[in-house]
């Protein structure tokens, strides 16, 4: 009966279709669509091939469609299932069984030393492919996935061309050692340290060449990378040709304009004059000028950039290849900053001996030319006296500078911001190449056994020169400055592993076993150069050359075991040796174990139709950390001073020899991670998602702690002490809101909660311990605003509690006497919030209608606090200095601090602001001109906007501040871009 009712409803609608299509004068086809297990599939799109005529199945999977009398083919398509074409052949009843999309299930994820089927994963791994990348003017790879992955926080450090980002996966596992994830590019782990002459080493990878990111988050996924895995691993795979690919040429061009989003409002014009006349000394009032200069406006510009990429791919006599060249020319919004980058890549993936030997060759080369702006000009422009002219007839290149009554430069005053930029020539050239050759050989006599050899390298050479003319005020006295630098870095890699994969059908089992060895050596050479002035006098003699190297040797193994396609187990172990530690502590073992249960495969879930995927996972593992900055922390060594650090005995200056502090016992930092997750798909995977909980505890923390005075040759030593915890929850939801022939709308949402706490910091437990003060601020040398204390999050703000009046206005100089001793001393400082967000989330929408597409990425963070250092320097007494004037931000009107005799002012918690925000990171609109010129040409045109708007209560320019101290960083521009992509095949 139910069937009858349903079919009558459908009949009504189909009769309407029929009426519309009446000229065709045909038949009506009815039928039902079911899944493999016989459950009816509602919402399946049924289209008459080659036409726009179609319908969707009803709740019971049935459909009715008018079709032509002869011929015709029906196309059934549904998310998560393989589309099926069925010729009508004059039938009136067509019942269809759709099979699940194997490709979706068989989606392969890159894990360390191999790949795994997504459905077989037991750990926390997120893959982001090209189709999900952020679009627009993206010059550095990590920006492609900003906001896209739960548990991964990507904070761009600023708006300079090629500037990098701080990447944190599930919070930082360490305190003083590195918190950066390990980045592996085409099988080559690259070191996280900087390359001289570049804003960010990752900017030397062309984002256009990247095919996918695979992010390994929990220990069971990362432990295969052992001692470098505590902060997660990001595996970047670049694009390659594929077997059978047709010849294809792709040309991408993008032009962008970047604009300053906002500037700091400061006292100007009459308001500034009035404030000076009120608060400055009579002598200083005389310093007021006549001009009205907007210094911030002067130093920023609308910046143009273009990015062109050409790639050719295909196969020549069975050898798949891809060759690409790219050129990026990017101006920064701060005057003079620019980046020119030329990249090339070659990938060959031939197969030999009946496909038993698979070869993968990847070569990438980069040449970059940078010009760096003096970012100090940003802060100078914010404070520079707006009544002074830009130019003046003087010996400082014609730029106004503060001088005393004798015409001598006032060395304490800020320098002319425009002069700082225009008179500085700071350029670098960087060459880098990353390459790998992978040989994967399927052994002839043992079925399922492969041997894999990977040889890789990453070399870079950089050189740069900073030329400051004698007319530049800051080097006027010494007669200018010419300084050069060079660096050469080499990273060589050899990996070898054996993999054995076998199905044991008789016991319903599948085994995937890997065992291997890895050797990697990093060297770094920095030759010394003297600094000269313009007449050739030596200003600073060449320092000591730097030459360091370190080696990692590893053995690793992994077992994946699948029983009955539903019980999964992954066990990994890695044993690492690092040259950073003494022979006694050199080796560390890092095991992990994870289990997963694909509940969806259980018979008791066969009957239901709600869940289309359900898996629970749990894992535990230990990973390590050895990147502690120094290279020989366990060795007693003596080092020479530079010439400027010599000492006179008699009539000879001796370069001194210093014994270095050391810790013979220094060893690995260890992080234990527990991870539990559930992956689900609902309504035939229309809604998919996962929920995950993790807990990480780092012990033997490599931290720099005060050593007992007199016991070592330093006051602070890197040693293994202390513990830190990170705990969090990640949620991911993906929803195919609409999916039919004309409209596709996919929504993605991810959210992460993370908290961290220091649980121990010293060898001796002491509750009275204040902690380790960190986080330098502007406004006094050596002043810090943050602290690491046991029982609190890392980098907590350490401040005085501001007292407010009845109107909620802060009372200047009045702080809560927290210890009730009648005086405000540093014992009244308390810990207040921290810079790390409690929550961060990403929201993505991708909508397409026919040939149009519209997408956006929103990114947000909540309860991230920022110390507004610019606001903290806003007090009226700050206008008036010895022989010069400064302006201050207008928000001084809100609290009106004078700032006389109150050294505690800048430590007020009033300046620590909640900087929760939501940012429209990216919005883009595209149109495809498909199938031009006989299907041989596709053209896609896009328009995009980046950093479009921010919703926040934070008072400063940008609430997203790496490290949590906002002190005039290079502002992130708003970028508008137009792009065209041309595919020719």
């Amino acid at each position: 009966r139910e069937y009858d009712e349903a079919s009558s409803t459908m009949a009504t609608s189909s009769s309407r279709v029929e009426t519309e299509r009446s000229p065709l004068q045909g038949n009506v086809v009815r039928g039902t669509v079911v899944g493999e297990n016989g459950t009816p599939l509602p919402g399946v799109t049924v289209v008459l091939k080659g036409t726009t005529r179609g319908t969707a199945t009803g709740v019971n999977g049935d459909f009715t469609l008018a079709v032509p009398a002869e011929g015709g083919t029906l196309v059934f398509s549904y998310i998560g299932y393989e589309p099926q074409e069925v010729p009508i052949d004059g039938r009136e009843q067509i019942d269809v069984v759709l099979s699940t999309d194997v490709e979706a299930l068989e989606e392969v994820v890159v894990v360390g030393y191999g790949t795994q089927k997504k459905s077989d994963l037991t750990g926390s791994v997120t893959a982001v492919g090209e189709e999900d990348f952020q679009e627009g003017n993206i010059t550095t790879p990590e920006q492609l996935i900003a906001g896209k992955v739960a548990g991964v926080q990507i904070t761009p450090s600023g708006g300079a061309p090629g500037a990098g980002s701080q990447i944190r996966i599930r919070g930082g596992a360490s305190l003083n050692a590195s918190n950066d994830p390990l980045i592996v590019i085409d099988g080559v782990p690259v070191d996280n340290n900087g390359i001289s002459g570049t804003a960010n080493p990752l900017s030397l990878i062309n984002p256009n060449d990247i095919e996918s990111f695979n992010i390994l988050k929990d220990a069971s996924a990362t432990a295969i990378y052992g001692s470098r895995a505590s902060n997660g691993v990001i595996i970047i795979t670049t694009k390659k040709g594929r077997a059978g690919d047709k010849f294809k040429v792709t040309l991408n061009s993008l032009a962008s304009i970047s604009q300053l989003r906002d500037q700091v409002d400061v006292l100007q014009g009459d308001e500034f004059r009035e404030a000076v006349n009120r608060y400055a000394t009579p002598a200083n009032r005389e310093l007021l000028g006549e001009a009205n200069t907007d210094w911030q406006d002067l130093i920023f510009r609308d910046a143009i950039s273009h990015d062109h990429n050409l790639s050719v791919s295909g196969s020549i006599s069975e050898v798949p290849y891809r060759v690409s060249v790219g050129h990026l020319s990017q101006e920064g919004i701060l005057l003079t900053s620019e980046l020119e980058r030329t990249t090339g890549s070659l990938s060959l993936s031939p197969q030999f001996f009946d496909e038993s030997l698979r070869v993968n060759l990847n070569l990438k080369g980069i040449y970059a030319e940078n010009r760096f702006a003096n970012e100090g000009a940003i802060g100078a422009a914010v404070v520079f006296d707006p009544t002074q002219p830009v130019y003046q007839d003087n010996e400082f290149g014609g730029y106004f500078e503060w001088v005393d009554e004798n015409g001598l430069l006032n060395t304490l005053a800020p320098r002319n911001p425009l002069s700082m930029l225009e008179q500085r020539d700071d350029r670098s050239e960087v060459l880098r190449s990353i390459g790998s050759l992978q040989l994967d050989y399927s052994m002839p006599f043992v079925d399922g056994l492969r041997a894999n050899l990977n040889l890789g390298y990453d070399v870079s050479e950089s050189e740069g020169q900073v030329i400051l003319p004698p007319t530049l005020a800051s080097v006027y006295t010494q007669g200018g400055s010419i300084n050069e630098y060079e660096q050469e870095k080499v990273n060589k890699l050899l990996d070898f592993y054996l993999n054995y994969t076998q199905d044991y059908e008789e016991i319903d089992s599948r085994v995937d076993l890997t065992a291997g060895y890895s050797y990697q050596k990093f060297t770094n050479e920095i030759p010394p150069f003297a600094t000269l002035n313009f007449v050739g006098d030596t200003i600073t003699r060449a320092p000591n050359p730097i030459e360091t190297n370190n080696v990692l040797v590893s053995f690793f193994g992994r077992l994946n075991y699948v029983f009955k396609e539903k019980y999964l187990l992954t066990a990994t172990v890695r044993r690492d040796g690092s040259s950073r530690f003494s022979p006694d502590n050199r080796w560390g073992t890092f095991p992990a174990l994870a289990l997963a249960w694909r509940i969806i495969e259980e018979p008791f879930l066969e009957a239901q139709t709600v869940f289309s995927d359900l898996k629970i996972r749990g894992g535990y593992g230990i990973t390590g950390q050895q990147d502690i900055g120094g290279f020989y922390p366990y060795l007693p060594r003596y080092v020479y001073s530079n010439v400027e650090g010599s000492y006179l005995l008699g009539d000879t200056y001796y370069r001194t020899l210093r014994p270095q502090g050391y810790d013979v016992n220094i060893k690995w930092e260890e992080t234990e991670t527990w991870n539990a997750g559930i992956d689900f798909g609902l309504f035939n995977n229309k809604l998919t998602g996962s929920l995950e909980y993790y807990f990480k505890q780092t012990d033997d923390l490599l931290s720099q702690i005060p050593v007992p005075a007199g016991s070592n040759l330093t006051n602070r030593l890197f040693t293994n002490v202390g513990s830190i915890e990170n705990e969090g929850v990640e949620a991911v939801l993906n929803y195919y809101a609409v999916s039919n022939e004309n409209i596709n709308w996919e929504l993605g949402f991810n959210a992460t909660y993370n908290r961290n706490e220091i649980t121990n910091l010293s060898r001796v437990q002491d509750d009275a311990a204040v902690g380790i003060q960190v986080g330098g601020i502007g406004g006094g040398v050596g002043n810090t605003i943050q602290i690491h204390t046991v029982g609190y999050p890392t980098f907590s703000y350490y401040v005085y509690k501001q007292v407010y009046d009845d109107n909620g206005r802060p009372i200047e100089g009045l702080y809560a006497d927290l210890n009730d001793d009648g005086a405000i001393t540093d014992e009244d400082l308390y810990r207040f919030e921290d810079p790390t967000p409690d929550w961060y989330l990403g929201f993505t929408s991708q909508f397409s209608y026919k040939k149009w597409s519209l997408g956006f990425v929103l990114r947000g963070a909540f309860n991230n606090y920022v110390y507004n250092n610019i606001k903290a320097n806003a007090f009226y007494n700050n206008l008036d200095w010895n022989g010069y004037l400064l302006t201050i931000p207008t928000y001084v009107r809100d609290f009106g601090f004078l700032g006389v005799n109150d050294p505690n002012r800048q430590y007020s918690d009033y300046f620590v602001e909640n900087a929760s925000f939501v940012r429209m990171d990216n919005i883009n609109l595209g149109y495809n001109f498909d199938n031009l010129l006989d299907d041989r040409v596709n053209v896609r045109v896009t328009a995009s906007g980046q950093n479009v708007f921010i919703i926040t209560d934070y008072d400063g320019l940008d609430p997203e501040v790496t490290g949590g101290i906002d002190n005039n960083f290079y502002p992130r521009p708003r970028i508008w871009s137009l792009g065209v992509q041309l595919e020719f095949q």
Binding site: G645, T656, L657, Y662, V664, L713, D766, V770, T825
Partner: protein, 494 residues
Amino acid sequence: ASVYRDFVNYKQVLAKIYAGYALTGQQGPAGDPDILGGDEGFSSYLRQYWQLQELPTDEAVIGWGDVGLSDLHEMDWTPNNQFITAMFARIFYQVSLTNEFIRETTDAKLEERGITGANLELAKEYRAEARFLRALSYWHALDLFGSVPFVTEEDEVGAFFPEQISREELFNYIESELLAIEDELVPARQNEYGRADQAAAWTLLTKLYLNAEVYTGEERYADAVTYAEKVIGAGYELEENYENLFLADNNTADGIIFAIAFDGLRTQTYGGTTYLVHAPVGGSMDPAEFGIDGGWSGLRTTEQIVDLFPTTTGVIDERAMFYTEGQAEVINDITDFTDGYPITKYRNVTSTGEVGSHPGRVFVDTDFPMFRLADVYLMYAEAVLRGGGGDVGMALELVNALRERAYNDDVAGRISANELTLDFILDERARELSWEAQRRTDLIRFNKFTTDNYLWAWKGGVPTGTAVPEFREIYPIPTADILANPNLEQNPGY
């Protein structure tokens, strides 16, 4: 370490120990620090020693907003104070450096490495100097912190918890060390410039004995007289022109027993004398007269110091070196550079008017006179007046030698025997040795540092001055160290 196989290296290691007082690390002026935490130039040994000895006294105020700096004037510092923490770290860094060198230059080790003949003699001199420098730093610890952790060359480098030594025991240790090396050091005035000789050890012994009552409760004035006499008898002469003791070529000045050397080209730091020359320059002062690129607008002195002189200019007493133009004598606002007179003593200009060597005029050539003959004269006179024996007539002669020099050889500067009182000595020390890192120790010895026996402007953070609790005569052990070493007990009161 292999560095000791080649004798050439020994002197470079020794130079490092001396440089520990001047520089902050292996890269001048900054970049590869010896101690971590905080700004390098800020934490320079000499700069911190100077600040802890001067800022809580009538001799100096500083107008900067760096956290903890004003606590030094206000005398309400806590164990977290960054300057106190830095000083403690510097002292024990020097102790560790000297221990390492002494450990590596024992007779046995020298023999094992085949160091013989003249090299062996030199090695022994170096070792004696390292022991002197360790005693010097331990004396700073004794004077500033009282009871401190105690480590010697017997302790290996590592991560252990040194034991705390009482003030009396530390006094005895320093005394025994100085007496032990007295004969191993190069005779007075015979060593190279910059290196310590017997006179340096005697001067330190004099200081130790003069302050013994403060340190141990037991008077040792007779010993102070004995050792001051040794210095006085060693053949030093007073520098004729007082001003020359503080200029860029003061390495050629007479009457300096032990100096910390600086050089604009080769010994660069933002601490040390770079700080002492720059920090008191500001207002309408002309940086060129100081041989520098610009002043730092920080240091001035209080009216009480100005009032010790007959006039504010050097026309009568040439030691009155105040800059007064556009400056107010009375300090209303410590942060305002024009309140209070800067003292213009330290300059990066030579006695012939040449500017120091650094082309950028940032780093100075001026050495710091750590021990001066004039100080020994005044210590002798004081020890005599305090009942240490000696010759009262000689005491008067010595004081008058200083007075005559100050008054440009004019006898008007001389005082009579009945004017030679302890109070006069204290004032004369302020006139002769102002801004030479002596004042806190002197005021404590005269029981005027914390008490209401003497109030100066801004003492205790009050414009007219107020007494503070007596426990502030010694600084607290920094919290960081209390935490790092469970064997340490905090000084009383903190």
